[in-house]
């Protein structure tokens, strides 16, 4: 453990090499713009060096207590993985339902007395409408034949004198007009056409599905907010404990002239690291879960004759997950640090 620590500090020292202190550049006889500019450069250098030191140092401290750090990071990861995983599942369901959108179909049942001519006229009229992509005529005879083929009532139908089936026009809207609201308005217009007995939209279940998806999306948002709060609290608590266990050290640092920013910095970076590592682990968890789900989904896909491909977190979502981890980590630490560092004063 001592060796590990030493290595870390050696890295620190190496990192801070070759950076003269701000006031070390008072070159005599070299006053004015260039000198002050140089001083500014050096000061910036010192600033970044201090941040880099804190960044590496805080990571070193996390690796110092691997078990407890891992447990904290795992809790953060699980909290972040839950909304991310749900988000991915929803995305996948949405991908599936995108195919169903084009399946929105209106069945127009013509009046029993209308003949083939009426159907043909209606067909021409419908095909001129911009909203409609395709119309298929199913004649009485075709309907009867299909019914006979698909059902066991074929023989029973023979007993009937008349063909009981109406002529049906299957109307498929263009993809632009496939959204529930647009199809609904198209349906109303078609219903008012002459010769139409019934106009039926085979989309109610699609609407229900959409409604369910909306609930799902809302649930993801709520879950994400709640679990982000949980991450804030976890990190805040971790940092609070870290501050308490380093009370003596903080006192000593204050006694030898450390500014608040200097003392704060490693704790803030520690929060940042916890958040980042937690998010990375969450990313791995989500992808691992998707790999585990992939087999069953493939089997289901085969059963439904489709080619469902399970999508994983895309670049944007991954970026957002990791970004959220870093921001939550930093903010959680910031809250804890602001509250607890001020209380520690040398006495």
């Amino acid at each position: 453990m001592i060796n590990q620590h030493k290595n870390m500090l050696m890295t620190l020292r190496r990192k801070s090499a070759n950076s003269p202190r701000a006031d070390a550049v008072h070159a005599p006889g070299k006053r004015g713009a260039s000198a002050s500019q140089q001083r500014l450069t050096v000061r910036l250098h010192v600033y970044w060096q201090a941040h880099l030191q804190a960044l590496v140092f805080s990571l070193g401290r996390i690796s110092h207590n691997p078990l407890s750090s891992f447990m904290t990071i795992a809790v953060i990861a699980i909290a972040l993985a839950m909304p991310s995983g749900l988000h991915v599942l929803l995305k996948n369901f949405q991908g599936v339902s995108a195919d169903w959108d084009s399946a929105a179909q209106i069945s127009l049942f013509l009046k029993q007395e209308s003949d083939v001519g009426t159907a043909k006229e209606l067909y021409d009229h419908l095909m001129k409408m911009a909203e409609i992509d395709r119309v298929t005529i199913i004649s009485k005879e075709q309907a009867l034949a299909e019914f006979k083929r698909l059902s066991d009532f074929g023989n029973a139908l023979k007993a009937l004198d008349d063909n009981p089936f109406p002529t049906v026009l299957l109307v498929e809207p263009t993809s632009q007009y496939s959204a529930p609201a647009a199809v609904e308005s198209l349906l109303i217009r078609l219903r008012n056409l002459p010769d139409i007995e019934v106009a039926q939209l085979d989309m109610e279940w699609v609407e229900r599905w959409y409604a369910l998806m909306e609930i799902g999306k809302r649930a993801v948002v709520i879950l994400a907010i709640l679990l982000s709060l949980a991450v804030l609290l976890i990190i805040g608590n971790t940092i609070r404990l870290a501050i308490q266990s380093r009370r003596d050290e903080i006192e000593v640092q204050k006694l030898i002239g450390a500014s608040d920013a200097f003392i704060r910095r490693p704790f803030l970076y520690s929060g940042f690291w916890h958040g980042l590592l937690g998010a990375l682990l969450a990313w791995i968890l989500v992808n691992l879960s998707l790999i585990l789900l992939d087999g069953p989904v493939q089997r289901l896909s085969v059963l439904y004759d489709g080619n469902l491909k399970l999508q994983s977190l895309n670049a944007m979502a991954s970026f957002m997950l990791i970004g959220a981890g870093m921001v939550l980590g930093y903010c959680g630490a910031r809250i804890a640090v602001g509250r607890h560092l001020r209380d520690i004063e040398p006495s």
Binding site: I2, R21, Q49, V252, Q253, G257, P346, S347
Partner: protein
């Protein structure tokens, strides 16, 4: 270097830690502060180190009027004061080198400068060969010397020591005091609180006596009197 005008410190509950202290310590002077425990030695040092603030009166240290120092400015004032504690206050999870380097890291020095100054400070206190050790591996006297190295590594113009020899045997105490003398000889103002009357009267520096929070004695230096006057 240090000036107190009618300074007092009252604690919550009304107990008076210090009352009506008038004090002047010159630049490059070496002063002992003595008195029984509870007499106010530590309180006086804490006021100089801005660990506590005076309830009334004016304190000016190193040309800085403490009544105008805000909380945010305290760290920068402390960087010009080296403080040595009876219990060393070293960081046990860091090597001797890193302990001594801390004030320089805090002040934002570069790597090369840190190496140079830490080695110089450790050499001065005779612990150069132990820079890689940890505080716990060192004896009490050695730990105190690390504390001194840390206090002087920044080359502050003022050194404060609160019972620096409290736990040490007479020989080690003399060695530590000798170190302080050496720093004083290169122009550092040194204020040492100690109740070891025998030791400090033998050394012959100015002695301020506190009792019940009041300054009751100011015995001028017995030797080097000419140096201080000049």
């Amino acid at each position: 270097m240090i000036q107190f005008n009618q300074v007092g410190k009252r604690y919550d509950g009304g107990r008076e830690g210090l009352s009506q202290i008038d004090l002047h310590v010159n630049h490059a002077e070496m002063v002992f502060l003595t008195g029984h425990s509870g007499a106010g030695k530590s309180t006086l040092l804490k006021l100089i180190a801005l660990i506590e603030r005076a309830t009334y009166g004016q304190i000016v240290v190193n040309n800085k009027n403490f009544s105008r120092i805000t909380r945010r400015q305290i760290p920068y004032v402390r960087r010009n004061i080296g403080i040595i504690f009876q219990n060393h206050k070293l960081l046990n999870d860091r090597s001797i080198f890193d302990n001594v380097a801390l004030p320089l890291v805090i002040a934002g020095y570069g790597h090369v400068e840190i190496q140079r100054r830490v080695r110089a400070a450790l050499d001065k206190v005779g612990l150069l060969d132990k820079e890689k050790r940890f505080p716990i591996m060192l004896s009490g006297g050695e730990q105190q010397r690390v504390g001194i190295a840390r206090a002087v590594v920044n080359k502050p113009p003022l050194l404060l020591a609160d019972e620096p020899t409290g736990n040490l045997d007479p020989q080690l105490s003399a060695e530590i005091m000798n170190l302080f003398e050496q720093f004083n000889q290169v122009g550092v103002t040194v204020v040492i609180a100690s109740h070891d009357i025998d030791l400090i009267s033998r050394m012959g520096y100015r002695i301020l006596s506190l009792s019940g929070g009041r300054l009751v004695g100011d015995q001028p230096a017995q030797k080097y009197a000419d140096d201080i006057a000049s």
